[in-house]
């Protein structure tokens, strides 16, 4: 019974924590610009995330090592340092985007000044991480993030063209579009893959597995949480896309402001829906800020061999503590410079996809290595899909920067 509760909580946490500010922004814009034709990218990205997430959890359970230890061993020191710098920078920018997103949503709830809310958000997150046990942190934000399910309920309420939604799961390229729009469509494909496969999620997930001392018997639970949890979370992101296609497109809105997406719940459910959506966004975005802030510290500590872990008291892992506190402080500084959260989201997404190949290559290699994994080595399906998705990530990584500049960050 206890195991079933653990699995259920794990899945719910994965669902509530799936959508962050970047997925929300890109899902809403994808729906209003391209109707249902980008649903398949969320689906494929989620399958890839499930494969890599399961691999990272399995590697953590069997080797007792998190991703960044493996990265250094497999990439060697020089490329490892470059990957570390890339990872820390993208985590920092992403953390800033999530803090900015949270403060923006709090502004819509309270009307208080944005800089004050950014400061209070950062302080609250630092205190929560300092004071609460690791499992409570995960559960708090993951479960409260389930308020985002109001978006899924809205989807049912607004009666979309379900046939069109289903057809959106088929990989497609709308070749009848003018060239400019086709290039922008290509940018959205790359951006959505990046938003779904954000590297910080893998660092956080595998570090948690090592901290909680997962064992081989936990491999099955890991598989369930990774596949079912991420799958259901992805449906939430897709519901935001569908809502945008049905509600925003006819009135010519391509969400340029974070708060616009909350209207997806306000239109069918009024003020109650709006408040549920805004609160859900607060917890989803701040949960993502916690993950990115900690993953930055995990990356540094694991690469350099420091003591690390949220299960340790701050004084038992001092440099790790300094690293995550510094990440939040620097993120707040970035937010207070006045850079718009949406701009931070764009940069986070583009830089993350460039770093992704370095993140997932060591993972696939170790997960395939019988010397490390014994009988828990990749099966033929995991292996094949892993390499196929890795090739997809490499193509996206090469295309990301040119597409970003040509489409002016998807605004073309």
């Amino acid at each position: 019974m206890g195991g079933l509760i653990e699995i259920t909580l794990g899945i719910m946490t994965a669902v509530g924590g799936f959508v962050d500010v970047s997925e929300m922004v890109f899902a809403a814009q994808a729906g209003s610009r391209f109707i249902f034709s980008l649903i398949w990218v969320f689906a494929i990205g989620t399958i890839a995330m499930g494969i890599f997430g399961e691999m990272s959890g399995r590697v953590a359970a069997i080797t007792k090592q998190p991703v960044f230890n493996l990265m250094r061993q497999r990439l060697d020191l020089g490329p490892g340092i470059i990957a570390l710098i890339g990872s820390v920078v993208t985590s920092l920018i992403t953390c800033a985007a999530e803090i900015g997103g949270t403060a923006t949503v709090l502004k819509y709830l309270t009307g208080w000044p944005y800089p004050l809310l950014a400061g209070l958000t950062t302080l609250a997150l630092v205190l929560v991480i300092w004071a609460l046990p690791f499992k409570w942190i995960e559960r708090l934000f993951g479960l409260l993030g389930l308020l985002m399910l109001v978006f899924a309920v809205s989807t049912v309420k607004i009666h979309p063209d379900w046939g069109g939604v289903a057809r959106g799961f088929i990989p497609q390229a709308p070749v009848t579009l003018p060239m400019k729009d086709l290039v922008t469509y290509g940018y959205f494909v790359v951006a959505i893959i990046s938003a779904v496969l954000f590297p910080y999620e893998t660092y956080f997930y595998s570090s948690g597995g090592v901290e909680e001392e997962w064992k081989p018997k936990d491999v099955t639970v890991n598989k369930l949480v990774a596949t079912v949890g991420f799958g259901l979370g992805s449906l939430l992101a897709i519901s935001i896309l569908v809502n945008a296609a049905v509600l925003f497109r006819p009135v010519h809105v391509d969400p340029s402001v974070i708060g616009t997406s909350a209207l997806q719940a306000a239109i069918p459910f009024g003020k109650t829906g709006l408040l549920l959506a805004l609160l859900g966004m607060v917890f989803a975005f701040s949960g993502a800020a916690v993950e990115t802030g900690l993953s930055s510290a995990y990356s540094l500590s694991q690469f350099l061999g420091w003591e690390w872990g949220r299960l340790k008291k701050p004084h038992e892992a001092p440099r790790f503590t300094i690293a995550w506190v510094a990440t939040f402080a620097l993120s707040l500084v970035i937010v207070l410079t006045g850079i718009q959260p949406l701009d931070l989201v764009e940069w986070a997404v583009v830089l993350s996809i460039v770093v992704l190949p370095a993140t997932y290559l060591p993972l696939i290699l170790i997960a395939n290595d019988r010397k490390y994994m014994n009988q828990y080595v990749n099966g033929p399906i995991s292996n094949t899909l892993g390499w196929v998705f890795y090739a997809m990530i490499c193509v996206a990584a090469v295309a990301a920067l040119p597409l970003y500049f040509v489409t002016q960050g998807g605004k073309l």
């Binding site: 020191l77 004071a131 038992e316």
Partner: protein
């Protein structure tokens, strides 16, 4: 794997996490010091830990950057202190006994003065 067996030095020793006999992390094996002569078997003399050990493994410009940020200290851990090697290098001594964990322990003492930490 015990340290008196044959090892693939680069793949199986370098860049592994070092853990002391109390289970505490003591840095990463950043390089290894060998001894031997032409025609004789190579033996590991010591593990090298610290940014100073990066020299020779990374381009000069990157080593310069690393030293600017983290200094160039290096600690030699004698091979006799190694108990076994698996996914990590386990020592048969405490980190402090072989000169490791100096920075970590200094920060631990500072943090112990902070309330609720």
């Amino acid at each position: 794997m015990k340290p008196n067996g044959a090892l693939k030095l680069l793949a199986e020793v370098r860049d592994l996490q070092i853990v002391d006999k109390d289970g505490k992390n003591c840095g990463i094996c950043d390089d290894i010091e060998l001894e031997g002569a032409p025609g004789k078997p190579l033996k590991i003399k010591a593990l090298l830990v610290g940014p100073g050990a990066y020299e020779g493994r990374i381009p000069k410009w990157l080593f310069w950057m690393v030293c600017k940020m983290a200094g160039s200290r290096m600690t030699r851990v004698p091979w006799s202190a190694v108990d076994k090697i698996s996914a990590r290098i386990f020592l048969n001594v405490t980190g402090e006994e072989v000169g490791l964990r100096k920075v970590e322990d200094r920060w631990i003492r500072k943090f112990e003065k902070v309330p609720t930490s």
